[in-house]
């Protein structure tokens, strides 16, 4: 069960994408999300698709993990496609069927929107597939650092994130244990009307909360005993470093963005 517990779906590896600084990845994805909405013709869509697929293949993450990551959104992608197909009334009629008429504009719009979705999901899931949660936390702490001046609790936020990440598996194991213990006392989570099942969750949640609070209290004490006194004057074991490869990727991405804007303005 432990394997399914890892938050996100990090797939260990040593590819270029894995080794990039998490800040590089986050920044590029952030801008990618924007420029996807700038694409407006076949050439620009192809450019972005090629970029995303190149990233995907470079990462060497097995396709099945990527498909698994897309599973929850397949429905959304197909739904928007069909919606556009039925609703849009532009271009020429390409098919008539019973009371429906399908327009060429609808088809194109449907494909474009579905492709947009697909690219967004693909690129963002590449981030979680190739970056450990702790790296993401480090990157967020570092990137939010300027907000410190406005009294934004950056360090505390990052610490909270990393402690939550550390305790998720522990709490999952505990949930499992409590649900077994309650099941052995005859609590039934799996069958019966939904109302009964919701009621059955109560004896699961109460002990879980009680223990989580106890853990929190003990952890706070242990942290204090080990000299924790906030973010001031703290050093860090893990360090983030921009390497040559990060700069290379930034330049490459800048070229893609420039090319996209160019192609777009020519259409």
């Amino acid at each position: 069960m432990n394997n399914s517990l890892i938050i996100g779906q990090y797939v260990p590896g040593n590819s270029l994408v894995h080794r990039l600084d998490p800040r590089t990845k986050i920044t590029i994805i952030f801008f990618f999300v924007f420029i996807v909405f700038f694409a407006n013709n076949i050439a620009s869509y192809s450019l972005l698709t090629v970029f995303a697929l190149t990233c995907m293949f470079t990462s060497k993450v097995p396709i099945r993990f990527i498909i698994k990551g897309l599973t929850p959104v397949w429905f959304l992608i197909i739904f928007t496609f069909i919606l556009h197909l039925f609703v849009t009334r532009e271009g020429t009629v390409i098919l008539e069927f019973w009371i429906f008429e399908f327009y060429s504009g609808g088809l194109i719009q449907g494909i474009a929107i579905a492709l947009r979705f697909f690219l967004l999901i693909l690129v963002t899931s590449l981030l979680t597939l190739t970056t450990t949660p702790i790296e993401i936390t480090d990157a967020i702490e570092d990137m939010l650092h300027p907000l410190k001046r406005f009294k934004f609790p950056v360090h505390e936020l990052a610490l909270m994130m990393s402690i939550s990440l550390r305790f998720i598996p522990t709490l999952m194991q505990e949930t499992d244990k409590i649900s077994r213990a309650q099941a052995s006392r005859g609590v039934d989570f799996k069958t019966g009307p939904i109302k009964e099942r919701i009621k059955a969750v109560v004896p699961l949640l109460v002990p879980l909360f009680v223990s989580a609070f106890k853990r929190a209290e003990e952890l706070a004490m242990a942290m204090e005993a080990r000299g924790y006194q906030g973010g001031e004057g703290r050093s860090k074991l893990r360090e983030l470093k921009i390497e040559k490869r990060d700069i290379f990727i930034f330049i490459l991405f800048a070229i893609v963005v420039a090319a996209l804007l160019l192609i777009r303005s020519y259409s």
Partner: protein, 279 residues
């Protein structure tokens, strides 16, 4: 006698203004490179002593001095550098996402440089024989392994006093023995003072000195051998006596004239051999 490191002077403590006194006029001393075991029934105030030593709590009366420094609001940060503490539950004191992050936590708090941290991590992890688990996440470790990491994390800041508050209580007997052996080795080689709070008799026997707590009072302070001579008195305050000590007593009752008071199997065996060779 070696140097005095920890001193409790007439310490009294209670959690609430109008609550009962949890510690009453407690005084004791702990010396450099000494191993002291604190025993006592549940609620006798042992954990409270540990928390007072680390500045997690402050006494209402009396004073606590560690390495010449009085424990108070101003001195806690330097006190916590001198006093390392390992708690009972291995899960609830593991802060880092991986073993090395956890060992680094205490050092990060003190602003130790990265190179130095790497060095200390390697050293302390090999001292507790966990060097192969540097990048492992906590949920992939056993309870005993987590406690080892907790010990390494505390050792990383090179404290002068190491307190184990029932740190082995959640482990099985073999895990317990392994940890105590490791800790014993570290104590001997590094000149650390060790305070173990425990219900485990074997740990008590290993100590140089035992402090017995009863209802917030210091009941006795003596060597393990002397303490376990008072079998009946120990039982009346709800404590146990090691099996070998009981066996030796029964043997004496049965007319087997052992000449010493053995505390472990080897000593008993030795005595029996001596007896055997004499008859």
């Amino acid at each position: 006698m070696s140097k005095k490191l920890v001193e409790f002077r007439n310490v009294s403590f209670r959690y609430d203004e109008d609550g009962p006194w949890v510690l009453k006029n407690c005084s004791f001393e702990i010396y450099e490179n000494e191993w002291v075991a604190i025993i006592g029934h549940n609620g006798s105030g042992k954990s409270t002593i540990a928390k007072l030593l680390n500045g997690l709590l402050f006494p209402q009366e009396g004073e606590i001095v560690i390495g010449g420094q009085q424990v108070n609001e101003e001195s806690i940060w330097s006190i916590r550098k001198e006093v390392g503490m390992v708690f009972q539950n291995p899960d609830n004191q593991f802060v880092g996402a991986t073993v090395q992050d956890d060992v680094a936590f205490g050092m990060e708090n003190r602003g130790v440089q990265r190179d130095e941290m790497q060095k200390r991590i390697t050293e302390t992890l090999s001292a507790v024989r966990m060097q192969d688990y540097r990048l492992t996440e906590p949920h992939r470790l056993s309870g005993g392994q987590k406690q080892r990491v907790a010990i390494a994390s505390v050792l990383a800041i090179s404290p002068k006093v190491l307190i184990l508050d029932e740190a082995t209580a959640m482990l099985d007997p073999s895990g317990r023995k392994e940890i105590m052996d490791t800790v014993g080795e570290i104590q001997e080689s590094s000149g650390l003072s060790l305070i173990t709070i425990t219900h485990d008799l074997q740990e008590v026997v290993q100590a140089d000195r035992v402090i017995v707590m009863n209802n917030g009072n210091k009941w006795r302070e003596a060597s393990p051998r002397e303490i376990f001579l008072e079998k009946d008195a120990l039982r009346t305050i709800g404590l146990d006596v090691p099996f070998v000590a009981i066996l030796a007593e029964e043997l004496k009752h049965a007319g087997v004239s052992l000449k010493s008071t053995p505390l472990n199997q080897e000593e008993l065996l030795e005595d029996l051999w001596i007896l055997h060779s004499r008859t």
